[in-house]
């Protein structure tokens, strides 16, 4: 004749054992809706007998314990990929439409950064830059006789190095600097490293359609596109970092924001200059015959 309390306690243990055996179970997808309930619901767990709620509440408790798993376990890295398709799409939308007053980290990320977005956006950007640059060089050189198409595959390597260095080293520098200032000035909680990487990664998304549109060989269009892209992604970054530095001294605040913007501008202009070299190839073949003709006429005199 088991008492009701003993039965309930065993059922809870079973649920935790199931979840411990399979940490990848899709109980995490309920986190968005139940993030506000655990405090009130843990008191109710012993009264509610339905299996779904038991697993949901125990998953909440488990996640609280699991956040301290070491960096050598697979589950630690799995916590960075805890996003659904709709969440990723929302974050991409938030990076393309920055509204004043909407801090990307606080509003769109809701302080749960992921690594899926930044990583795959960087990879896509690398390939879209290399492929679009190759296509635009090909289109530029269509009129040149004896032009032999080259895939220029080494551009992929260069693009990969540049983009990944930017997307990882610059957030490291920005985070380090902000954390050092915040510790000195005893200010509000700054952003974690992962959140900084996340902001930078998602802010690079706008360059993917821009690089595809850069194939069109109109110079004014290219400069217009680069301006629009820089404004959009730059404002995402500025709107995110301004609330953290505005408490600092005026000079430091402006210097920090200016550095972020300048680095961003350098990246976009550098990519455009290198991957989308404009028609500098065309004058070369026509100059050579004139030059040799000039030398010949000079020599005959």
């Amino acid at each position: 004749m088991a008492s009701p309390d003993d039965l309930k306690f065993q059922e809870f243990e079973e649920a935790t054992d199931l979840l411990l055996a399979d940490p990848g179970a899709s109980t995490f997808s309920m986190s968005g809706s139940s993030s506000t309930t655990p405090a009130g619901a843990t008191g109710d767990i012993k009264l509610d007998m339905s299996d779904d709620e038991g697993q949901e509440e125990s998953s909440e408790l488990l996640r609280g314990e699991k956040q301290t798993s070491g960096f050598w376990t697979f589950a630690y890295y799995q916590s960075f990929f805890n996003v659904d398709t709709m969440q990723v799409l929302d974050r991409v939308k938030g990076s393309v439409m920055p509204l004043p007053g909407r801090n990307f980290i606080k509003h769109t990320l809701q302080s749960s950064p992921d690594l899926y977005g930044p990583f795959w956006i960087c990879v896509t950007l690398v390939f879209s830059l290399a492929i679009s640059g190759n296509l635009s060089t090909f289109l530029n050189s269509l009129g040149i006789p004896h032009y032999h198409y080259r895939p220029q595959f080494h551009r992929v390597t260069i693009a990969a190095v540049v983009i990944f260095l930017y997307a990882w080293l610059v957030p490291l520098g920005v985070w380090g600097f902000l954390t050092w200032r915040q510790r000195e000035e005893r200010q509000q909680r700054g952003y974690s490293f992962l959140e900084t990487v996340c902001v930078y990664g998602y802010s690079l998304f706008i360059y993917i359609p821009t690089s595809v549109l850069w194939i069109l060989p109109f110079e004014w269009l290219r400069w217009l596109l680069i301006l629009v892209a820089m404004v959009i992604s730059g404002s995402v970054l500025v709107l995110t970092f301004w609330p953290v530095v505005c408490d600092d001294t005026k000079v430091t605040a402006f210097a920090t924001v200016a550095t972020i913007v300048v680095l961003h501008v350098l990246l976009s202009i550098g990519c455009k200059m290198y991957f989308f070299q404009t028609a500098t190839l065309t004058p070369v073949p026509t100059l050579a015959p004139n030059h040799t003709a000039a030398i010949l006429t000079n020599k005959t005199h």
Binding site: A2, V123, H148
Partner: protein, 229 residues
């Protein structure tokens, strides 16, 4: 279960004086069943001729090729995974991508090592991505599926080289474009048919997109292959 013992202890207390030498049957099994005994237990494959060994593996690889060409929801690719097929396909593709336009070495197509690295490194990253997103497929099964599904693209490469033998004008480019596009969609569709079941349903697109990107890049390498003038 613990409570049953608790309750039954007073009833069987008197038996503790009796010497039990193992007459009372123990509940539960001590031997864990190993599953179906493999064929190797019945005869050793050490004595068979080498031809049989090689042919058996080749037949297994060939059967999987057929499964890729007609992708149904079969689990043969997942159950009996092997990496011979992907290695064969990768080496063939990388070799056929050589001999391209190499006026100057740096402006040419991908080198052998680059193709190799892209295919294997790309497969590893996609597998890690799907596992980190909570997939239930094992590491080597996923590598096996991704590698085998390169087969339509290898076929397209052979077709492209044959088309290029006939000239490299606009017509041949359009034909190559159609062939590569068709085979790249086939590859993506085939691998999604095998991999998509192993993902939680709200993350399927997150797993399919890197696969799409992977085959797109390989298709791009095939399409931009131009023979030396």
């Amino acid at each position: 279960m613990a409570e049953v013992d608790e309750l039954s202890k007073p009833m069987f207390a008197g038996l503790s004086d009796v010497s039990i030498s193992g007459d009372i049957p123990v509940e539960g099994e001590i031997n864990v069943p190993v599953g179906t005994p493999s064929h190797d237990d019945e005869y050793s494959t050490l004595d068979e001729p080498v031809k049989d060994t090689i042919l058996r593996d080749l037949k297994a690889v060939g059967k999987k090729f057929v499964h890729v060409m007609y992708p149904k929801k079969s689990s043969a690719l997942l159950r009996d995974w092997d990496l011979w097929g992907p290695l064969l396909l990768c080496v063939t593709l990388a070799l056929m991508l050589q001999g391209g336009s190499v006026d100057s070495k740096e402006d040419g197509g991908p080198q052998f090592a680059e193709v190799f690295v892209i295919i294997w490194f790309g497969s590893v990253i996609i597998t890690l991505n799907s596992k980190l997103l909570g997939g239930t497929i094992s590491f080597f099964q996923s590598l096996c599926v991704l590698g085998y599904c390169i087969m339509p693209l290898t076929v397209a490469m052979v077709v492209c080289r044959l088309v290029l033998l006939g000239g490299s004008g606009m017509v041949s480019f359009i034909v190559r474009l159609i062939v590569v596009t068709a085979s790249f969609s086939w590859s993506t569709f085939a691998s999604t048919a095998f991999l998509a079941d192993c993902q939680p349903s709200n993350r399927k697109a997150l797993v399919v997109y890197p696969v799409f990107l992977f085959y797109f890049v390989i298709g791009w390498m095939i399409l931009t292959f131009s023979p030396s003038a």
